[in-house]
């Protein structure tokens, strides 16, 4: 074990993490870059942690894996985690921030020759989103509200996976799609689709997307492991935040994004702090849009980063 910094947890005592082998579940998307960097650069090993990374298809399946014990840590989509926390489907702890949107990381696009050119034109449109009741729906809802449209009345959402969206757009099954990088760049380049609006602007600018999540029980049982994980990921986040080259290099190793694509796609931000005020934005916006029925205070969910 390599606990070079003193253990932050009040429980104290003993050397090294309680659990040295941890299984992390993440999606093959840029959000997860930090753990791959940390693993590749030996940050985990330096903390005495051995990590296995499981590829997941969606946050929906990540949570049962976490609760059931197949996974120790997951890349939690804040929207999903807060939703389930509020409905008492699980008691989670966020141990590190992972990803935050920046302009052009997401977009609502329409086919090349579509009449839809501005957010206003989306009235009556069928819009593809990766999952109902998700951050995507919230983001589109927010974009609609800025032009006076209502997501429940004025548009229809259907579910498509990102890779299927270009096909759905081209064959006219949907009028517009909420699409993320690298598909956003891809669909514009290959099919000439045009961006109608960037939903991650205005109220949703620099919006927290995902963070590293464990269960409360696990966090309490393994405080030193949590701290060790936090230190390792933090180092990786700092690298990622400082230099996009780091991400461009690591992306092709755990996704099939080619190095060329990696160098042109828009990337979000990799926060190096874990801020309750920032994440509270998610909960508040969810409440504003009716996804939560009452206010949820996120502060108790955070496990502060070791100093």
């Amino acid at each position: 074990g390599g606990g070079s910094t003193p253990a932050p947890a009040p429980s104290g005592g003993g050397e090294g993490p309680e659990k040295t082998t941890i299984t992390i579940g993440a999606l093959p998307i840029p959000d997860a870059a930090a753990i791959h960097i940390a693993k590749a650069k030996g940050f985990f090993a330096a903390e005495g942690l051995k990590v296995n990374i499981t590829q997941l298809q969606s946050s929906a399946i990540a949570v049962p894996n976490l609760l059931g014990g197949s996974l120790d840590v997951i890349l939690g989509n804040y929207f999903a985690i807060i939703n389930i926390q509020a409905k008492k489907g699980g008691d989670f702890r966020l141990i590190a921030d992972a990803f935050q949107s920046k302009p052009d990381t997401f977009g609502i696009v329409a086919p090349k020759d579509s009449k839809i050119t501005t957010a206003k034109d989306l009235k009556g449109a069928t819009i593809a989103i990766p999952a109902v009741n998700s951050i995507g729906e919230l983001a589109v809802g927010s974009a609609l509200r800025t032009v006076g449209l209502d997501r429940l009345k004025d548009v229809k959402f259907v579910q498509y996976a990102f890779p299927d969206m270009p096909g759905a757009l081209a064959t006219g099954k949907v009028d517009a799609a909420f699409i993320a990088e690298p598909f956003l760049t891809g669909v514009q380049k290959n099919s000439g689709a045009k961006k109608v609006v960037d939903p991650m602007s205005g109220a949703m600018a620099d919006f927290p997307m995902s963070g590293w999540t464990v269960t409360k029980k696990w966090a309490e049982a393994n405080p030193k492991t949590v701290a060790a994980f936090q230190r390792a990921v933090l180092k990786a986040q700092q690298l990622a935040a400082a230099d996009r080259k780091e991400i461009e290099q690591i992306l092709p190793s755990y996704t099939k994004i080619s190095p060329q694509d990696a160098s042109v796609i828009a990337l979000g931000a990799f926060p190096t702090t874990l801020s309750a005020t920032r994440i509270q934005r998610v909960a508040d916006l969810m409440q504003e849009y009716g996804y939560l029925t009452e206010k949820l205070d996120v502060t108790p969910l955070l496990v502060p980063l070791p100093q």
């Binding site: 939703n83 489907g89 109902v132 009741n133 579910q159 299927d164 096909g167 759905a168 064959t171 099954k173």
Partner: protein, 250 residues
């Protein structure tokens, strides 16, 4: 059955997990969502009609299409060695391919979402019908084929009067398998590109973390499957009555 439900109720009450609500709670939820409508519509609510209607349409459309294509193709392949040689490998290849993996193809190939969903169902349920029909049609008792041949019973009549009845017990096994599989595939097909249906409902409630409603959808699927199977067995009993009686030993 009552024992199973009792055990379920007790088990879930003991466990007190949000994910596994007790059946009584599920029943209440189902009742509120679907059975509080006007009497002239059998108490079905708008939500129930909007959910079940499209789903049943796709389910039956897909299943019937699969039955037609499966039996027709199965008999052709089962009776013709040459045809079998050519397309057996293609069939074996295709049926190991998950329908979910073909959705990108279906999206591009089919104009409307409904076509796409029906195609997914057909692709998913046709195999048991096809394989069992091929087997049944291929191994018709020699005594029967010989009789048909010497008496000049040929072509379509031979198919209808000799090959199909002889293969019927196997075809029915395939149909029965595919019927509940169609329910499963209906759900699969509604996960993509859909905004209504029981499968959509299932996924939606899962996403919104409305667990008793999600279980409600599962229960509806189970009841639907059970009802379809009961009708099916009823039809089978009549169509295969000769078989049952000829095969019984007393």
């Amino acid at each position: 059955m009552p024992v199973a439900i009792g055990a379920w109720e007790v088990g879930t009450r003991q466990a007190e997990s949000v994910y596994f609500p007790p059946p009584s709670q599920i029943a209440v939820r189902m009742y509120e969502a679907w059975l509080t409508g006007p009497a002239h519509r059998l108490f079905l609510t708008d939500a129930a009609l909007d959910t079940f209607g499209p789903s049943l349409g796709r389910l039956f459309g897909g299943w019937l299409l699969a039955c037609l294509v499966g039996v027709a193709l199965g008999v052709a392949v089962g009776r013709s060695r040459v045809l079998a040689d050519y397309i057996d490998p293609v069939i074996e290849f295709c049926r190991a391919v998950p329908p979910a993996a073909l959705i990108p193809l279906f999206i591009v190939l089919f104009k409307t979402s409904t076509q796409m969903q029906v195609a997914t169902i057909v692709y998913g349920v046709i195999w048991p019908i096809l394989i069992n029909t091929i087997d049944g049609a291929r191994y018709v008792d020699r005594g029967h084929t010989d009789s048909a041949q010497v008496f000049g019973v040929r072509g379509a009549r031979r198919l209808v009067r000799v090959v199909l009845p002889s293969a019927a017990p196997k075809i029915f096994a395939g149909l029965r398998l595919s019927l509940s599989l169609a329910v499963v595939l209906m759900v699969v097909s509604e996960l993509v590109a859909s905004s209504d249906g029981i499968g959509y409902q299932l996924m939606y409630t899962q996403q919104t973390f409305d667990m008793s409603a999600m279980w409600g959808s599962i229960v509806v699927l189970a009841i639907l499957g059970y009802a379809l199977n009961t009708f099916f067995l009823f039809a089978e009993k009549h169509i295969l009555s000769w078989h049952r009686r000829a095969r019984q030993t007393t």
